[in-house]
């Protein structure tokens, strides 16, 4: 008889979040790194306030994608083959393992988006008239990036160049997420044009979730 999935997912999520609480990698490294990126860009393009106000949302999402990848794949560098074997021997369902890791990454990514988002709003004076859509788009992007990072990490697990390879695999595949977020919040877009982009975002999340759950067991056996 197999154990119910939900406690397993909770256990894996708790393990990953505990690891983050102890190491503080996201809180003390990735978030400040993202904020620095938002400070550096105006130095490079010049202090043109109307221009920065216009490109601010796009820059924010680009920073979320590029630095979010570091969060979504951070476990790859930390987790060894022996640890993966131990989790498998403990009888954790691979699909639950995938879901637990993705949930933990999504929680951390939402935190990253919120903190770096506040920095972006303060620095770039971003227009927030469509803020209610952020309630869907922020978690939608976080979940998508977390699923993509977790799935790609599983695909490249135990490979010699895995740690260097994964960001290269994830970055171009995250384009539909970036497009969904930036196009939905484009201030020039009419209100009735937002929903299709949000639907694209959610559809990508759904496809990635299905792909991750279905391939979790065979990928574990492939290693």
């Amino acid at each position: 008889m197999t154990a119910p999935l939900w406690p397993q997912i909770k256990a894996v999520t708790g393990r990953d979040l505990s690891r983050e609480r102890r190491s503080g990698e996201v809180a003390w490294v990735t978030i400040p790194f993202g904020a620095i990126a938002l400070l550096l860009i105006p130095l490079a393009v010049g202090a043109d306030i109307p221009l920065l106000r216009r490109i601010g949302p796009g820059l924010f999402w680009a920073v979320v994608m590029l630095f979010g990848i570091l969060i979504a794949v951070r476990r790859t560098a930390a987790e060894t083959g022996a640890q993966r074997d131990l989790v498998a021997l403990l009888g954790i369902d691979p699909a639950a393992g995938f879901a637990g890791k993705a949930v933990a990454s999504a929680v951390l990514l939402v935190g990253f988006e919120l903190i770096v988002g506040v920095v972006a709003v303060l620095l770039y004076d971003i227009d927030l008239t469509r803020w209610p859509w952020l309630l869907v788009i922020v978690p939608g992007v976080a979940i998508g990036l977390a699923l993509l990072g977790t799935l790609t990490s599983s695909i490249a697990a135990n490979l010699d160049s895995g740690a260097a390879l994964i960001p290269f695999l994830v970055a171009p595949l995250s384009v539909p997420l970036l497009l969904g977020a930036t196009q939905a919040l484009d201030p020039l877009r009419p209100s009735n044009g937002i929903l299709p982009w949000v639907m694209l975002l959610l559809a990508v999340d759904l496809v990635l979730a299905i792909a991750g759950v279905l391939t979790a067991r065979p990928l574990q056996e492939t290693r």
């Binding site: 490979l159 160049s161 695999l169 595949l173 792909a211």
Partner: protein, 251 residues
């Protein structure tokens, strides 16, 4: 051993047909009248569009073969998948290069931030990532399974690239051939384009077939090496001995 196997890639009517079709297509391209606004440089279009259609076809082969591999675990489908990705990457690179040559005299710059251009470049990098992933392991089964999943995810780039000009309405030309209300072109230009599509379609098919055979041969060689049947590197080299030296070097 290897040369015998390399010879096993058979020549076929497809190779001959592809070469002849390219000659005919180039003839059509050079004999068609120059464009009223773009002049001679518009002839690049007769190669540019057919080559990207070839790339789409190759990536579609990659997608279908990846799905079939996941369903059957037959390495034959993995060979087709890698063929599709590799041929697609080459053709996409060629499309970007030709597009840049066309853009400089037409738009004044080699590169512009058109949605289709940018997404095509991203598609190129997605499949380059696929090929890099394959290089990261020597285990055939592991490589095939990992890359099949990635290949299935990568296909989402093609509709994004194709429909990007309709979604964003940017500087890149709107669809003139693959549109719901039919192709909107002069007959002479359409014939030249059609000849190009047939020719580069055949070239794509011929390249896919040859790359498939190469992948099959590589797989056999890898299998032989895994089973210890092949010569190890350095086995043919014997240690140097001095004249009159009777000592044996233990292995």
């Amino acid at each position: 051993m290897t040369s015998t196997r390399m010879d096993a890639v058979p020549r076929s009517w497809l190779d001959v047909a592809a070469i002849l079709a390219v000659v005919v297509a180039l003839g059509f391209a050079f004999l068609s009248p120059p464009d009223s606004s773009q002049g001679e440089v518009a002839r690049l279009f007769y190669v540019h569009l057919p080559v990207i259609l070839g790339a789409y076809l190759a990536f579609l082969v990659n997608f279908v073969a990846s799905a079939l591999y996941l369903g059957s675990r037959n390495l034959r489908w993995d060979h087709w998948a890698v063929s599709g990705a590799e041929v697609g990457v080459v053709l996409t690179g060629l499309t970007l290069g030709i597009g840049m040559l066309w853009a400089k005299p037409t738009w004044g710059v080699f590169w512009t931030w058109s949605a289709r251009l940018t997404l095509t470049a991203i598609m190129f990098f997605v499949y380059l990532g696929y090929l890099t992933l394959r290089r990261a392991t020597n285990d055939q089964r592991s490589r095939a399974f990992r890359s099949a999943i990635f290949g299935m995810l990568a296909i989402i780039q093609i509709p994004l690239v194709h429909f990007s000009v309709s979604i964003w309405r940017d500087i890149h030309q709107q669809p003139t051939v693959l549109r719901p209300d039919g192709a909107q072109m002069d007959d002479v230009l359409r014939n030249a384009l059609l000849a190009g599509i047939i020719a580069y379609g055949l070239v794509t098919a011929a390249l896919l077939r040859r790359r498939y055979h190469l992948a099959r041969i590589q797989s056999l060689v890898d299998l032989e090496l895994e089973q210890g049947g092949g010569d190890l590197a350095g086995e043919a080299i014997s240690p140097p001995t001095l004249p009159g030296d009777q000592s044996e070097v233990s292995s």
